[in-house]
């Protein structure tokens, strides 16, 4: 071998290589320390302070964390009259109707509605049962027993519940995407066109698609109710304006928007499944379902896992869509955790408290991701493992 340069010593060569390598990774490493690791640790420190950016930061000890985790579950038995011990009922808006007068009340008409009184078991007011300054996160009735879930920062816990609830759109969307990918994975004419159409909603800016769906969901003049009505389905949906339907509505749009991406990833993975596996399955007498169950599904399990984990990490940080479409309403029914962090941090300037909330979310996401990886060992099948 002819060397054009004088031979350098091995040691100086190694040092020169290390020097250049360090130089090459400098920007990325600097970015990591400046914008990821540094802020992450700072965020943890901030979570122990009270700081509105205007006055100097104050050390708050564990007060922020204490507020976040001030939660209580209270069993609330039906109220009783203190003197007589009679069970109390609530008829319309009249509280404290004793059991002895119940039949009388049920014969009378509600002055507001004109209908006969609707009487239900009466309970003490929420704030009488819950600790001071607590709000209701949720109430649960199990076998006739009523439980109240309360928290100091009840909005945060409601937001966390909403966020987790809306994550259900991830597996539902994935199932649909897988079905579409399998059907699309044939020699079909117009396949590329179809693939592009399915993927389109995913590339377009979420702000634009959110505004479009806002109009689609409009109860009076939106196209959704009109289309439902024209095929004979009930067309009175209030969609985003109703506490009961706002989450499913956002999920429908979420599935519409993510479907193409999930389908694309599944399709790419399907094309990598060796055809010999299918041939072997057919020889073994497998039908359509058998081929799916024993070839397609195991071969795709790493893809399913990838989509599930990334979908959940993404879903936990949902912000733009509910921000633009509902601002978290009606009530708090579509508020997400990131909206809460945004409100506390940037609208109320509670930097310390918002940092604690952000850390809570970060830890929740991390725990779920780790749990996903643990569970993955049971059902995800990596091809290279089969030779072991």
């Amino acid at each position: 071998m002819i060397r054009l340069r004088p031979r350098l010593s091995q040691a100086s060569n190694t040092r020169r290589e290390a020097f250049w390598a360090w130089l090459f990774i400098l920007p990325v490493t600097a970015g990591f320390f400046l914008f990821v690791l540094g802020p992450m640790l700072a965020s943890l420190a901030l979570s122990f302070t009270k700081w509105d950016l205007l006055s100097p930061a104050e050390w708050a000890g564990t007060r922020n964390w204490h507020s976040i985790f001030s939660v209580s579950v209270v069993h609330t038995p039906q109220a009783r009259d203190e003197a007589s011990g009679d069970l109390l009922f609530q008829c319309g808006r009249h509280r404290n109707v004793p059991a002895s007068e119940l039949t009388d009340w049920q014969r009378r008409n509600d002055e507001r509605t004109g209908e006969p009184f609707d009487c239900r078991p009466g309970y003490p007011r929420d704030r009488e049962v819950l600790p001071e300054r607590f709000g209701v996160v949720s109430e649960v009735t199990l076998v006739g027993q009523r439980w109240l879930l309360g928290a100091r920062d009840h909005v945060l816990w409601i937001a966390l519940f909403n966020t987790v609830y809306m994550l259900l759109a991830v597996p539902v969307g994935m199932a649909l995407a897988l079905a579409v990918a399998i059907v699309l994975n044939q020699q079909l004419r117009g396949r590329n066109l179809l693939r592009a159409i399915f993927y389109l909603p995913n590339v377009l800016p979420i702000a634009a698609t959110s505004v479009i769906w806002l109009w689609i969901f409009n109860p009076e003049f939106g196209i959704l109710n009109h289309l439902l009505g024209s095929v004979g389905l009930p067309a009175e949906g209030r969609w985003l304006s109703d506490q009961g339907t706002v989450k499913p509505s956002l999920m429908i749009m979420g599935i519409w928007s993510a479907l193409g991406f999930q389908m694309l990833i599944y399709l790419a993975a399907l094309q990598a499944v060796p055809s010999q596996l299918y041939e072997a399955a057919v020889i073994d007498g497998a039908g359509l379902w058998g081929r799916f169950r024993f070839v397609t599904w195991p071969s795709l399990s790493p893809t399913t896992f990838f989509l599930l984990v990334t979908g959940m990490i993404f879903g936990f940080q949902s912000f733009a869509q509910p921000y633009i479409m509902t601002r978290g309403g009606p009530g708090n029914a579509s508020r997400t955790v990131v909206m809460e962090i945004w409100k506390n941090g940037f609208a109320d300037l509670e930097m310390g408290y918002a940092s604690a909330q952000a850390w809570l979310l970060g830890v929740v996401i991390l725990l779920i991701t780790v749990a996903n990886f643990r569970l993955a060992r049971r059902w995800v099948f990596y091809e290279h493992e089969q030779h072991v």
Partner: protein, 291 residues
């Protein structure tokens, strides 16, 4: 018995050819119906954006507007800064993506092809970033940029990305690791410096990588919402997405104007998508398989 009658008399389960045909036909019907459903929101947006204000409250809704008017597009163009927003979004997406490609490929090259102390742990540390949700760093970063007096400037939405992203770094390292060993051996013998090897030997091979990083980075940055919402306050520097979200408060119930706005906001990406469709789809699939 005629041929047709015989075919019909054979039970479907005993005739694989007919089964396959039926399955294909069903596939077509199902797929095209779904494609149509997926596109309805866009038809609805287009249709609304060309209707006079009163026309949108006509029931049943008209799909083809009559009269067909362009007024709302002029309203958007003249009364809002949406055009400016398009320029800002383009500037932000373009500069961050190009910067990210430069820094990430350089680092990816070092991690894939060079030897240096602490390489493994450092790469692991950088990859961990992908697991950390961005929200955790939001508040201190905001405070940092506030201290630097950078709120309401482009810096906060450009600078962090210029220094590279873990995703781009990971993809670059994967790509460079897969290239043959002979590539740099020859160059080393010729006495090329490491930067020359990166620049003149590896980067020319990395066209598919660069293209993938460009497409994914550009789309991602264009669609970014939270950071621009927080940092870009004046209309002169806002992105088109943030401006559109503000219009919802401003043109309440004025759906034809809002749909024209949505149309303008998604048009550049739509054009890019239609032109580069095949390539974008391959990039996404490629990155997904690596991920």
């Amino acid at each position: 018995m005629s041929e047709a009658a015989r075919v019909l008399a054979t039970p479907l389960r005993d005739d694989p050819r007919r089964q396959a045909q039926l399955l294909r036909a069903l596939s077509y019907v199902g797929l095209f119906t779904l494609a149509f459903i997926i596109l309805i929101p866009f038809f609805w947006m287009l249709s609304t954006s060309f209707k006079p204000a009163r026309g949108i409250f006509v029931m049943p809704p008209q799909w083809i507007p009559d009269p067909f008017i362009l007024d709302h597009y002029f309203t958007i163009w003249e009364k809002t800064h949406l055009a400016r927003g398009l320029v800002n979004s383009t500037f932000i997406a373009l500069s961050t993506t190009l910067g990210e490609i430069a820094t990430s490929t350089l680092a990816g090259f070092a991690f894939a092809r060079m030897r240096f102390p602490a390489k493994g742990p450092l790469f692991g540390l950088l990859l961990m970033t992908m697991m950390i949700p961005g929200i955790v760093t939001l508040i201190p970063t905001f405070i940092l940029f506030g201290e630097l007096d950078w709120i309401d400037t482009f810096n906060p939405v450009i600078l962090p990305y210029l220094l590279g992203t873990p995703f781009a770094l990971f993809l670059s390292r994967q790509f460079f690791s897969g290239l043959p060993r002979e590539l740099e051996d020859a160059a080393k013998v010729d006495g090329a410096s490491f930067f020359q090897i990166y620049r003149h030997v590896f980067m020319p091979q990395a066209r598919p990588l660069v293209a993938t990083l460009f497409v994914l980075g550009y789309l991602h940055r264009w669609n970014d919402f939270l950071a621009p919402l927080i940092y870009l306050r004046s209309p002169e520097i806002q992105t088109v997405s943030v401006m559109l979200a503000r219009l919802v408060d401003f043109y309440v119930q004025d759906w034809s104007v809002l749909m024209a706005g949505a149309m303008i906001a998604l048009l550049p990406i739509l054009i890019i998508f239609v032109v580069l469709q095949r390539f974008i789809i391959e990039s996404v699939a490629f990155s997904g398989l690596k991920g």
